[in-house]
Symmetry: C2
Subunit: 278 residues, 2 copies
Protein backbone atom coordinates (compact mmCIF):
# COMPACT_ATOMS: atom_id res chain seq x y z
CA UNK A 1 0.00 0.00 0.00
CA UNK A 2 1.31 3.35 -1.06
CA UNK A 3 0.19 6.87 -0.51
CA UNK A 4 -0.70 8.82 -3.58
CA UNK A 5 2.72 10.38 -4.05
CA UNK A 6 4.72 7.22 -4.20
CA UNK A 7 2.11 5.44 -6.24
CA UNK A 8 2.15 8.30 -8.71
CA UNK A 9 5.90 7.85 -9.10
CA UNK A 10 5.62 4.13 -9.59
CA UNK A 11 2.89 4.50 -12.15
CA UNK A 12 4.41 7.61 -13.74
CA UNK A 13 1.11 9.42 -13.42
CA UNK A 14 0.74 12.79 -11.72
CA UNK A 15 -0.97 12.63 -8.35
CA UNK A 16 -3.45 15.28 -9.43
CA UNK A 17 -4.53 12.98 -12.21
CA UNK A 18 -5.07 10.11 -9.79
CA UNK A 19 -7.19 12.39 -7.63
CA UNK A 20 -9.17 13.42 -10.67
CA UNK A 21 -9.71 9.82 -11.72
CA UNK A 22 -10.86 9.12 -8.19
CA UNK A 23 -13.24 12.03 -8.36
CA UNK A 24 -14.88 10.90 -11.58
CA UNK A 25 -14.98 7.34 -10.34
CA UNK A 26 -12.71 5.96 -13.03
CA UNK A 27 -9.96 4.65 -10.79
CA UNK A 28 -10.52 4.39 -7.05
CA UNK A 29 -7.85 3.77 -4.40
CA UNK A 30 -8.27 0.46 -2.58
CA UNK A 31 -8.64 2.37 0.64
CA UNK A 32 -9.55 5.90 1.61
CA UNK A 33 -8.97 6.77 5.23
CA UNK A 34 -12.24 8.10 6.66
CA UNK A 35 -10.42 10.27 9.17
CA UNK A 36 -7.74 11.87 7.13
CA UNK A 37 -9.04 11.40 3.61
CA UNK A 38 -5.67 9.94 2.58
CA UNK A 39 -5.86 7.73 -0.46
CA UNK A 40 -4.03 4.41 -0.42
CA UNK A 41 -3.19 2.47 -3.56
CA UNK A 42 -1.79 -1.00 -4.11
CA UNK A 43 0.46 -2.35 -6.82
CA UNK A 44 -2.31 -4.83 -7.51
CA UNK A 45 -4.09 -1.88 -9.06
CA UNK A 46 -1.36 -1.11 -11.55
CA UNK A 47 -2.71 -3.39 -14.27
CA UNK A 48 -6.08 -1.68 -14.14
CA UNK A 49 -4.47 1.75 -14.25
CA UNK A 50 -2.31 0.66 -17.10
CA UNK A 51 -5.31 -0.63 -18.99
CA UNK A 52 -7.00 2.70 -18.45
CA UNK A 53 -3.99 4.64 -19.67
CA UNK A 54 -3.58 2.39 -22.67
CA UNK A 55 -7.17 2.86 -23.72
CA UNK A 56 -6.94 6.59 -23.14
CA UNK A 57 -3.82 6.57 -25.25
CA UNK A 58 -5.83 5.19 -28.12
CA UNK A 59 -7.64 8.49 -27.94
CA UNK A 60 -10.82 7.28 -26.29
CA UNK A 61 -12.60 9.65 -23.94
CA UNK A 62 -12.52 8.90 -20.24
CA UNK A 63 -16.23 8.14 -20.42
CA UNK A 64 -15.59 5.47 -23.01
CA UNK A 65 -12.63 4.11 -21.09
CA UNK A 66 -14.83 3.92 -18.02
CA UNK A 67 -17.38 1.84 -19.84
CA UNK A 68 -14.69 -0.45 -21.20
CA UNK A 69 -12.97 -1.13 -17.90
CA UNK A 70 -15.83 -1.25 -15.44
CA UNK A 71 -18.84 -2.62 -17.23
CA UNK A 72 -18.91 -5.96 -18.86
CA UNK A 73 -18.66 -4.98 -22.47
CA UNK A 74 -19.12 -7.41 -25.33
CA UNK A 75 -16.27 -8.00 -27.73
CA UNK A 76 -18.52 -6.74 -30.48
CA UNK A 77 -18.94 -3.44 -28.75
CA UNK A 78 -15.21 -3.08 -28.19
CA UNK A 79 -14.62 -3.86 -31.81
CA UNK A 80 -17.17 -1.23 -32.78
CA UNK A 81 -15.57 1.39 -30.59
CA UNK A 82 -12.10 0.67 -31.89
CA UNK A 83 -13.21 0.60 -35.49
CA UNK A 84 -14.88 3.95 -35.04
CA UNK A 85 -11.80 5.27 -33.38
CA UNK A 86 -9.67 3.95 -36.22
CA UNK A 87 -11.75 5.86 -38.73
CA UNK A 88 -11.42 8.99 -36.65
CA UNK A 89 -7.67 8.68 -36.48
CA UNK A 90 -7.44 8.16 -40.21
CA UNK A 91 -9.52 11.27 -40.62
CA UNK A 92 -7.28 13.25 -38.30
CA UNK A 93 -4.25 11.92 -40.09
CA UNK A 94 -5.57 13.16 -43.39
CA UNK A 95 -6.54 16.59 -42.17
CA UNK A 96 -3.25 16.99 -40.36
CA UNK A 97 -1.46 16.13 -43.56
CA UNK A 98 -3.44 18.82 -45.35
CA UNK A 99 -2.64 21.24 -42.60
CA UNK A 100 1.02 20.45 -42.95
CA UNK A 101 0.76 21.15 -46.67
CA UNK A 102 -0.93 24.44 -45.93
CA UNK A 103 1.77 25.47 -43.51
CA UNK A 104 4.47 24.48 -45.94
CA UNK A 105 2.76 26.41 -48.68
CA UNK A 106 2.71 29.47 -46.42
CA UNK A 107 6.37 29.07 -45.66
CA UNK A 108 7.11 28.83 -49.34
CA UNK A 109 5.10 31.96 -50.02
CA UNK A 110 7.16 33.64 -47.36
CA UNK A 111 10.39 32.76 -49.14
CA UNK A 112 9.62 34.90 -52.14
CA UNK A 113 7.75 37.86 -50.76
CA UNK A 114 7.96 39.77 -47.54
CA UNK A 115 4.26 39.59 -46.93
CA UNK A 116 1.79 37.10 -45.62
CA UNK A 117 -0.80 37.29 -48.32
CA UNK A 118 -3.82 35.15 -48.02
CA UNK A 119 -6.65 36.64 -49.94
CA UNK A 120 -7.53 33.18 -51.14
CA UNK A 121 -9.14 30.69 -48.81
CA UNK A 122 -10.60 27.23 -48.93
CA UNK A 123 -14.25 26.66 -48.18
CA UNK A 124 -16.71 23.91 -48.51
CA UNK A 125 -19.98 24.99 -50.03
CA UNK A 126 -23.32 23.28 -49.43
CA UNK A 127 -25.85 22.54 -52.11
CA UNK A 128 -28.29 25.34 -52.61
CA UNK A 129 -31.39 25.91 -54.64
CA UNK A 130 -31.38 28.82 -57.02
CA UNK A 131 -33.41 30.61 -59.61
CA UNK A 132 -31.50 30.85 -62.83
CA UNK A 133 -31.33 31.36 -66.52
CA UNK A 134 -28.45 30.13 -68.65
CA UNK A 135 -27.49 32.08 -71.69
CA UNK A 136 -24.76 32.47 -74.25
CA UNK A 137 -23.79 36.11 -74.36
CA UNK A 138 -21.99 37.86 -77.15
CA UNK A 139 -20.45 40.38 -74.83
CA UNK A 140 -20.31 41.40 -71.23
CA UNK A 141 -22.82 44.20 -71.70
CA UNK A 142 -25.46 41.69 -72.69
CA UNK A 143 -24.87 39.79 -69.48
CA UNK A 144 -25.09 43.01 -67.51
CA UNK A 145 -28.35 43.87 -69.21
CA UNK A 146 -29.88 40.55 -68.32
CA UNK A 147 -28.63 40.86 -64.75
CA UNK A 148 -30.15 44.29 -64.53
CA UNK A 149 -33.44 42.98 -65.79
CA UNK A 150 -33.37 40.17 -63.24
CA UNK A 151 -32.66 42.65 -60.48
CA UNK A 152 -35.82 44.50 -61.41
CA UNK A 153 -38.19 41.63 -62.14
CA UNK A 154 -37.30 38.84 -59.76
CA UNK A 155 -37.95 40.76 -56.49
CA UNK A 156 -41.51 41.24 -57.69
CA UNK A 157 -42.09 37.52 -57.76
CA UNK A 158 -40.09 36.33 -54.80
CA UNK A 159 -40.24 37.56 -51.23
CA UNK A 160 -37.14 39.43 -50.14
CA UNK A 161 -36.81 36.99 -47.29
CA UNK A 162 -36.38 34.09 -49.63
CA UNK A 163 -34.05 35.87 -51.98
CA UNK A 164 -30.34 35.41 -51.44
CA UNK A 165 -27.38 36.88 -53.22
CA UNK A 166 -27.18 37.41 -56.91
CA UNK A 167 -24.53 35.24 -58.53
CA UNK A 168 -23.14 34.01 -61.82
CA UNK A 169 -21.90 30.60 -62.84
CA UNK A 170 -19.43 30.78 -65.68
CA UNK A 171 -19.65 27.70 -67.85
CA UNK A 172 -17.35 28.82 -70.66
CA UNK A 173 -14.26 26.69 -70.65
CA UNK A 174 -12.03 29.43 -71.90
CA UNK A 175 -12.53 33.10 -71.55
CA UNK A 176 -13.62 34.52 -74.88
CA UNK A 177 -15.12 37.96 -74.53
CA UNK A 178 -17.54 37.45 -77.38
CA UNK A 179 -18.94 34.05 -76.40
CA UNK A 180 -19.67 33.73 -72.72
CA UNK A 181 -21.74 30.80 -71.53
CA UNK A 182 -23.06 32.10 -68.27
CA UNK A 183 -25.78 31.22 -65.83
CA UNK A 184 -27.22 34.21 -64.01
CA UNK A 185 -28.81 33.22 -60.74
CA UNK A 186 -30.42 34.33 -57.54
CA UNK A 187 -29.53 32.10 -54.63
CA UNK A 188 -32.56 31.11 -52.60
CA UNK A 189 -32.67 30.84 -48.84
CA UNK A 190 -35.77 28.69 -48.97
CA UNK A 191 -36.87 26.02 -51.33
CA UNK A 192 -39.60 27.23 -53.62
CA UNK A 193 -40.83 26.13 -57.00
CA UNK A 194 -41.53 28.68 -59.69
CA UNK A 195 -40.52 30.11 -63.02
CA UNK A 196 -40.02 33.72 -63.93
CA UNK A 197 -40.05 35.20 -67.40
CA UNK A 198 -37.77 38.12 -68.03
CA UNK A 199 -38.57 41.00 -70.28
CA UNK A 200 -36.39 39.65 -73.11
CA UNK A 201 -38.35 36.43 -73.02
CA UNK A 202 -35.75 34.48 -71.11
CA UNK A 203 -37.11 31.89 -68.69
CA UNK A 204 -35.77 31.48 -65.18
CA UNK A 205 -36.39 28.30 -63.25
CA UNK A 206 -35.54 26.84 -59.88
CA UNK A 207 -32.81 24.26 -59.74
CA UNK A 208 -30.31 22.85 -57.31
CA UNK A 209 -26.75 24.13 -57.31
CA UNK A 210 -24.52 21.15 -56.50
CA UNK A 211 -22.33 21.35 -53.38
CA UNK A 212 -18.61 21.93 -53.70
CA UNK A 213 -16.46 19.92 -51.38
CA UNK A 214 -13.43 22.06 -51.78
CA UNK A 215 -13.77 25.53 -53.17
CA UNK A 216 -10.95 28.01 -53.51
CA UNK A 217 -12.43 31.42 -52.95
CA UNK A 218 -11.19 34.96 -53.32
CA UNK A 219 -12.76 38.34 -52.75
CA UNK A 220 -12.88 40.94 -55.45
CA UNK A 221 -13.50 44.50 -54.41
CA UNK A 222 -14.60 46.45 -57.44
CA UNK A 223 -15.43 45.64 -61.04
CA UNK A 224 -13.97 42.96 -63.32
CA UNK A 225 -10.91 45.12 -63.88
CA UNK A 226 -9.92 44.28 -60.32
CA UNK A 227 -10.21 40.60 -61.07
CA UNK A 228 -6.68 40.24 -62.34
CA UNK A 229 -5.02 40.10 -58.94
CA UNK A 230 -7.67 37.67 -57.76
CA UNK A 231 -7.11 35.28 -60.59
CA UNK A 232 -3.42 35.71 -60.12
CA UNK A 233 -3.67 34.71 -56.50
CA UNK A 234 -5.91 31.78 -57.32
CA UNK A 235 -3.61 30.60 -60.08
CA UNK A 236 -0.57 30.86 -57.86
CA UNK A 237 -2.23 28.95 -55.08
CA UNK A 238 -3.38 26.18 -57.38
CA UNK A 239 0.05 25.86 -58.89
CA UNK A 240 2.07 25.88 -55.69
CA UNK A 241 -0.30 23.49 -53.99
CA UNK A 242 -0.72 21.11 -56.90
CA UNK A 243 -4.45 21.35 -57.32
CA UNK A 244 -6.65 21.63 -60.37
CA UNK A 245 -9.94 23.31 -61.18
CA UNK A 246 -12.67 20.74 -61.59
CA UNK A 247 -15.75 22.71 -62.44
CA UNK A 248 -17.30 25.99 -63.44
CA UNK A 249 -16.38 29.13 -61.56
CA UNK A 250 -18.99 30.95 -59.56
CA UNK A 251 -19.14 34.62 -58.73
CA UNK A 252 -21.34 35.64 -55.83
CA UNK A 253 -22.22 39.31 -55.59
CA UNK A 254 -22.00 40.10 -51.91
CA UNK A 255 -22.47 43.78 -52.63
CA UNK A 256 -24.07 44.11 -56.05
CA UNK A 257 -22.96 46.88 -58.38
CA UNK A 258 -25.00 50.07 -58.38
CA UNK A 259 -24.91 52.44 -61.30
CA UNK A 260 -22.21 55.01 -60.66
CA UNK A 261 -20.88 53.05 -57.68
CA UNK A 262 -19.43 50.05 -59.46
CA UNK A 263 -16.17 50.38 -57.57
CA UNK A 264 -17.96 49.56 -54.31
CA UNK A 265 -19.11 46.16 -55.43
CA UNK A 266 -17.83 43.05 -53.73
CA UNK A 267 -17.71 39.68 -55.40
CA UNK A 268 -16.66 36.33 -54.05
CA UNK A 269 -15.08 34.18 -56.71
CA UNK A 270 -15.44 30.46 -56.11
CA UNK A 271 -13.51 27.76 -57.93
CA UNK A 272 -14.24 24.10 -57.26
CA UNK A 273 -10.90 22.36 -56.98
CA UNK A 274 -9.32 19.03 -56.14
CA UNK A 275 -5.83 17.82 -55.43
CA UNK A 276 -3.96 16.41 -58.39
CA UNK A 277 -3.53 12.72 -57.71
CA UNK A 278 -0.79 11.59 -59.98
Amino acid sequence: MFRIGEFSKIAQVPASQLRYYNEIGLFTPIRSDRETGYRYYSVQQLPKLNRILALKDLGLSLEQVKRLVEDEVSVEEIRGMLTLRKAQIEQTLQSEAMRLQAVESRLQQLEGKDQLQDDVILKSLPAQSFLATRHRCYNLSEAFAIANDMGKIVPKHVRAKTLGHFAAVIHSEQFEPDDIDVELVFLLKQNIDMTVTLSMGLEMSVRELPPIQTALTAMRFGGPERGISCHNAIGTWIETNQYQIIGPCREVFIVPPKLGHESEMVVEIQHPIAAITA
Copy 2:
Protein backbone atom coordinates in the same frame (compact mmCIF):
# COMPACT_ATOMS: atom_id res chain seq x y z
CA MET B 1 -22.83 47.22 -43.50
CA PHE B 2 -24.44 44.10 -42.22
CA ARG B 3 -25.76 43.05 -38.89
CA ILE B 4 -24.10 40.09 -37.33
CA GLY B 5 -26.51 37.50 -38.68
CA GLU B 6 -26.16 38.33 -42.32
CA PHE B 7 -22.44 38.86 -42.03
CA SER B 8 -22.13 35.48 -40.39
CA LYS B 9 -23.86 33.91 -43.39
CA ILE B 10 -21.66 35.70 -45.87
CA ALA B 11 -18.53 34.72 -44.04
CA GLN B 12 -19.79 31.24 -43.16
CA VAL B 13 -18.91 31.82 -39.55
CA PRO B 14 -21.39 31.39 -36.69
CA ALA B 15 -22.54 34.63 -35.12
CA SER B 16 -21.56 33.36 -31.70
CA GLN B 17 -18.04 33.01 -32.94
CA LEU B 18 -18.00 36.60 -34.22
CA ARG B 19 -19.26 37.78 -30.84
CA TYR B 20 -16.55 35.78 -29.17
CA TYR B 21 -13.86 37.21 -31.44
CA ASN B 22 -15.21 40.65 -30.63
CA GLU B 23 -15.05 39.86 -26.94
CA ILE B 24 -11.43 38.79 -27.02
CA GLY B 25 -10.55 41.69 -29.27
CA LEU B 26 -9.46 39.56 -32.18
CA PHE B 27 -11.97 40.82 -34.73
CA THR B 28 -14.00 43.94 -34.01
CA PRO B 29 -17.03 45.14 -35.96
CA ILE B 30 -16.47 48.45 -37.73
CA ARG B 31 -19.28 49.94 -35.70
CA SER B 32 -21.04 49.11 -32.48
CA ASP B 33 -24.20 51.05 -31.82
CA ARG B 34 -23.87 52.71 -28.45
CA GLU B 35 -27.61 52.64 -27.86
CA THR B 36 -28.54 49.14 -28.87
CA GLY B 37 -25.19 47.39 -28.73
CA TYR B 38 -25.81 46.02 -32.22
CA ARG B 39 -22.65 45.09 -34.06
CA TYR B 40 -22.22 46.19 -37.65
CA TYR B 41 -19.74 44.59 -40.03
CA SER B 42 -18.60 45.51 -43.49
CA VAL B 43 -17.50 43.32 -46.39
CA GLN B 44 -14.28 45.29 -46.27
CA GLN B 45 -13.55 43.28 -43.16
CA LEU B 46 -13.85 39.94 -44.88
CA PRO B 47 -10.19 39.74 -45.90
CA LYS B 48 -9.09 40.24 -42.32
CA LEU B 49 -11.55 37.66 -41.06
CA ASN B 50 -10.41 35.29 -43.75
CA ARG B 51 -6.81 35.81 -42.79
CA ILE B 52 -7.72 35.06 -39.21
CA LEU B 53 -9.56 31.90 -40.13
CA ALA B 54 -6.76 30.76 -42.39
CA LEU B 55 -4.17 31.18 -39.67
CA LYS B 56 -6.42 29.48 -37.17
CA ASP B 57 -6.83 26.66 -39.65
CA LEU B 58 -3.10 26.14 -39.58
CA GLY B 59 -3.67 25.19 -35.98
CA LEU B 60 -2.34 28.34 -34.38
CA SER B 61 -3.96 29.47 -31.15
CA LEU B 62 -6.14 32.57 -31.23
CA GLU B 63 -3.51 34.33 -29.17
CA GLN B 64 -0.92 33.65 -31.83
CA VAL B 65 -3.30 34.63 -34.60
CA LYS B 66 -3.98 37.86 -32.77
CA ARG B 67 -0.31 38.70 -32.67
CA LEU B 68 0.07 37.87 -36.33
CA VAL B 69 -2.83 39.98 -37.55
CA GLU B 70 -2.78 42.97 -35.27
CA ASP B 71 0.80 43.67 -34.32
CA GLU B 72 3.43 44.43 -36.81
CA VAL B 73 5.26 41.15 -36.88
CA SER B 74 8.49 40.62 -38.71
CA VAL B 75 8.69 38.06 -41.46
CA GLU B 76 11.30 36.29 -39.40
CA GLU B 77 8.90 35.87 -36.54
CA ILE B 78 6.16 34.59 -38.82
CA ARG B 79 8.60 32.14 -40.30
CA GLY B 80 9.58 31.05 -36.82
CA MET B 81 6.00 30.50 -35.77
CA LEU B 82 5.15 28.56 -38.89
CA THR B 83 8.26 26.45 -38.69
CA LEU B 84 7.46 25.61 -35.11
CA ARG B 85 3.91 24.79 -36.08
CA LYS B 86 5.20 22.60 -38.90
CA ALA B 87 7.29 20.63 -36.47
CA GLN B 88 4.30 20.24 -34.19
CA ILE B 89 2.13 18.95 -36.99
CA GLU B 90 4.78 16.50 -38.05
CA GLN B 91 4.93 15.36 -34.46
CA THR B 92 1.17 14.97 -34.29
CA LEU B 93 1.21 13.14 -37.57
CA GLN B 94 3.72 10.68 -36.24
CA SER B 95 1.99 10.07 -32.96
CA GLU B 96 -1.36 9.71 -34.69
CA ALA B 97 0.18 7.15 -36.98
CA MET B 98 1.44 5.25 -33.94
CA ARG B 99 -1.97 5.52 -32.36
CA LEU B 100 -3.52 4.10 -35.48
CA GLN B 101 -1.06 1.22 -35.33
CA ALA B 102 -1.96 0.64 -31.71
CA VAL B 103 -5.66 0.59 -32.45
CA GLU B 104 -5.12 -1.78 -35.34
CA SER B 105 -2.99 -4.01 -33.17
CA ARG B 106 -5.80 -4.09 -30.61
CA LEU B 107 -8.32 -4.97 -33.27
CA GLN B 108 -6.08 -7.75 -34.48
CA GLN B 109 -5.67 -9.07 -30.95
CA LEU B 110 -9.43 -9.05 -30.73
CA GLU B 111 -9.71 -11.23 -33.81
CA GLY B 112 -7.95 -14.10 -32.16
CA LYS B 113 -9.02 -13.97 -28.55
CA ASP B 114 -12.20 -12.83 -26.91
CA GLN B 115 -10.41 -10.70 -24.37
CA LEU B 116 -8.88 -7.29 -24.29
CA GLN B 117 -5.51 -8.07 -22.80
CA ASP B 118 -3.16 -5.28 -22.25
CA ASP B 119 -0.75 -6.09 -19.51
CA VAL B 120 2.01 -4.60 -21.59
CA ILE B 121 2.35 -0.87 -21.98
CA LEU B 122 4.73 1.62 -23.51
CA LYS B 123 6.57 4.09 -21.35
CA SER B 124 9.38 6.49 -21.72
CA LEU B 125 11.91 6.29 -18.92
CA PRO B 126 14.13 9.17 -17.81
CA ALA B 127 17.81 8.82 -17.01
CA GLN B 128 18.44 8.00 -13.40
CA SER B 129 21.43 7.65 -11.18
CA PHE B 130 21.89 4.33 -9.42
CA LEU B 131 24.16 2.42 -7.09
CA ALA B 132 25.20 -0.85 -8.68
CA THR B 133 27.47 -3.79 -8.94
CA ARG B 134 27.75 -5.88 -12.05
CA HIS B 135 28.50 -9.54 -11.72
CA ARG B 136 28.54 -12.77 -13.64
CA CYS B 137 26.53 -15.30 -11.69
CA TYR B 138 26.73 -19.05 -12.02
CA ASN B 139 23.14 -19.51 -10.94
CA LEU B 140 20.12 -17.60 -9.79
CA SER B 141 20.75 -18.35 -6.15
CA GLU B 142 24.02 -16.49 -6.32
CA ALA B 143 22.24 -13.44 -7.63
CA PHE B 144 19.67 -13.76 -4.88
CA ALA B 145 22.40 -13.99 -2.29
CA ILE B 146 24.04 -10.80 -3.53
CA ALA B 147 20.72 -9.04 -3.66
CA ASN B 148 20.03 -10.09 -0.10
CA ASP B 149 23.38 -8.80 0.99
CA MET B 150 22.72 -5.48 -0.72
CA GLY B 151 19.37 -5.24 0.96
CA LYS B 152 21.09 -5.50 4.33
CA ILE B 153 24.15 -3.36 3.76
CA VAL B 154 23.15 -0.52 1.48
CA PRO B 155 20.46 0.99 3.77
CA LYS B 156 23.17 1.47 6.36
CA HIS B 157 25.12 3.73 4.07
CA VAL B 158 22.36 5.61 2.26
CA ARG B 159 19.45 7.49 3.77
CA ALA B 160 16.09 5.85 3.16
CA LYS B 161 14.93 9.06 1.58
CA THR B 162 17.51 8.82 -1.15
CA LEU B 163 17.05 5.15 -1.79
CA GLY B 164 14.68 4.13 -4.56
CA HIS B 165 13.59 0.74 -5.77
CA PHE B 166 15.82 -2.25 -6.05
CA ALA B 167 16.29 -3.36 -9.62
CA ALA B 168 18.27 -5.61 -11.91
CA VAL B 169 19.67 -4.97 -15.38
CA ILE B 170 20.13 -8.17 -17.29
CA HIS B 171 23.06 -7.91 -19.67
CA SER B 172 23.23 -11.52 -20.81
CA GLU B 173 22.31 -11.71 -24.44
CA GLN B 174 20.73 -15.11 -24.15
CA PHE B 175 19.28 -16.67 -21.13
CA GLU B 176 21.62 -19.34 -19.81
CA PRO B 177 20.82 -20.34 -16.27
CA ASP B 178 24.44 -20.96 -15.38
CA ASP B 179 25.97 -17.77 -16.75
CA ILE B 180 23.96 -14.68 -15.96
CA ASP B 181 25.57 -11.29 -16.51
CA VAL B 182 23.52 -9.12 -14.25
CA GLU B 183 23.80 -5.69 -12.69
CA LEU B 184 22.13 -5.42 -9.30
CA VAL B 185 21.18 -1.88 -8.50
CA PHE B 186 19.43 0.49 -6.16
CA LEU B 187 17.80 3.37 -7.97
CA LEU B 188 18.58 6.70 -6.33
CA LYS B 189 16.14 9.54 -5.91
CA GLN B 190 18.93 12.04 -5.38
CA ASN B 191 22.30 12.34 -6.92
CA ILE B 192 25.01 11.28 -4.50
CA ASP B 193 28.55 10.06 -4.95
CA MET B 194 29.80 7.06 -3.01
CA THR B 195 30.90 3.48 -3.12
CA VAL B 196 29.75 0.61 -0.96
CA THR B 197 31.59 -2.63 -0.36
CA LEU B 198 29.46 -5.71 0.11
CA SER B 199 30.32 -8.54 2.42
CA MET B 200 31.58 -10.74 -0.42
CA GLY B 201 34.01 -8.01 -1.42
CA LEU B 202 31.94 -6.77 -4.33
CA GLU B 203 32.13 -3.02 -4.93
CA MET B 204 29.06 -0.92 -5.64
CA SER B 205 29.41 2.47 -7.26
CA VAL B 206 27.16 5.27 -8.42
CA ARG B 207 26.53 5.58 -12.12
CA GLU B 208 23.96 6.97 -14.48
CA LEU B 209 21.32 4.68 -15.98
CA PRO B 210 20.66 5.91 -19.52
CA PRO B 211 17.12 7.01 -20.43
CA ILE B 212 14.93 4.79 -22.58
CA GLN B 213 12.87 6.59 -25.16
CA THR B 214 10.51 3.74 -25.73
CA ALA B 215 10.25 1.00 -23.18
CA LEU B 216 7.83 -1.88 -23.35
CA THR B 217 6.87 -2.72 -19.82
CA ALA B 218 4.95 -5.48 -18.16
CA MET B 219 4.07 -6.26 -14.55
CA ARG B 220 4.95 -9.54 -12.99
CA PHE B 221 3.12 -10.52 -9.83
CA GLY B 222 5.09 -13.26 -8.13
CA GLY B 223 8.43 -14.96 -8.66
CA PRO B 224 10.27 -15.74 -11.89
CA GLU B 225 7.98 -18.69 -12.49
CA ARG B 226 5.24 -16.15 -13.26
CA GLY B 227 7.48 -14.51 -15.81
CA ILE B 228 6.43 -16.76 -18.65
CA SER B 229 3.16 -15.02 -19.39
CA CYS B 230 4.89 -11.67 -19.20
CA HIS B 231 7.53 -12.60 -21.70
CA ASN B 232 4.84 -14.14 -23.82
CA ALA B 233 2.88 -10.93 -23.87
CA ILE B 234 5.98 -8.90 -24.58
CA GLY B 235 7.05 -11.19 -27.37
CA THR B 236 3.62 -11.16 -28.93
CA TRP B 237 3.44 -7.40 -28.81
CA ILE B 238 6.85 -6.95 -30.35
CA GLU B 239 6.04 -9.36 -33.12
CA THR B 240 2.62 -8.04 -34.03
CA ASN B 241 3.79 -4.44 -33.91
CA GLN B 242 7.05 -4.94 -35.76
CA TYR B 243 9.43 -3.75 -33.11
CA GLN B 244 12.72 -5.05 -31.83
CA ILE B 245 14.52 -5.10 -28.52
CA ILE B 246 17.48 -2.73 -28.56
CA GLY B 247 19.05 -3.05 -25.15
CA PRO B 248 19.30 -4.89 -21.88
CA CYS B 249 16.14 -5.73 -20.00
CA ARG B 250 15.53 -4.17 -16.60
CA GLU B 251 13.53 -5.57 -13.73
CA VAL B 252 12.37 -3.12 -11.13
CA PHE B 253 11.20 -4.59 -7.84
CA ILE B 254 8.17 -2.53 -6.92
CA VAL B 255 7.43 -4.88 -4.05
CA PRO B 256 10.63 -6.75 -3.18
CA PRO B 257 10.46 -10.43 -2.26
CA LYS B 258 10.32 -11.27 1.42
CA LEU B 259 11.32 -14.68 2.67
CA GLY B 260 8.24 -16.85 2.80
CA HIS B 261 6.19 -14.29 0.88
CA GLU B 262 7.82 -14.51 -2.51
CA SER B 263 4.45 -14.81 -4.23
CA GLU B 264 3.59 -11.28 -3.16
CA MET B 265 6.43 -9.65 -4.99
CA VAL B 266 5.77 -7.30 -7.86
CA VAL B 267 8.26 -6.66 -10.62
CA GLU B 268 8.09 -4.32 -13.56
CA ILE B 269 9.90 -5.70 -16.55
CA GLN B 270 11.24 -3.05 -18.90
CA HIS B 271 12.51 -3.69 -22.41
CA PRO B 272 13.97 -0.86 -24.47
CA ILE B 273 12.54 -1.19 -27.95
CA ALA B 274 12.41 0.55 -31.31
CA ALA B 275 10.38 0.16 -34.47
CA ILE B 276 11.95 -1.96 -37.16
CA THR B 277 12.77 0.40 -40.00
CA ALA B 278 13.26 -1.77 -43.00
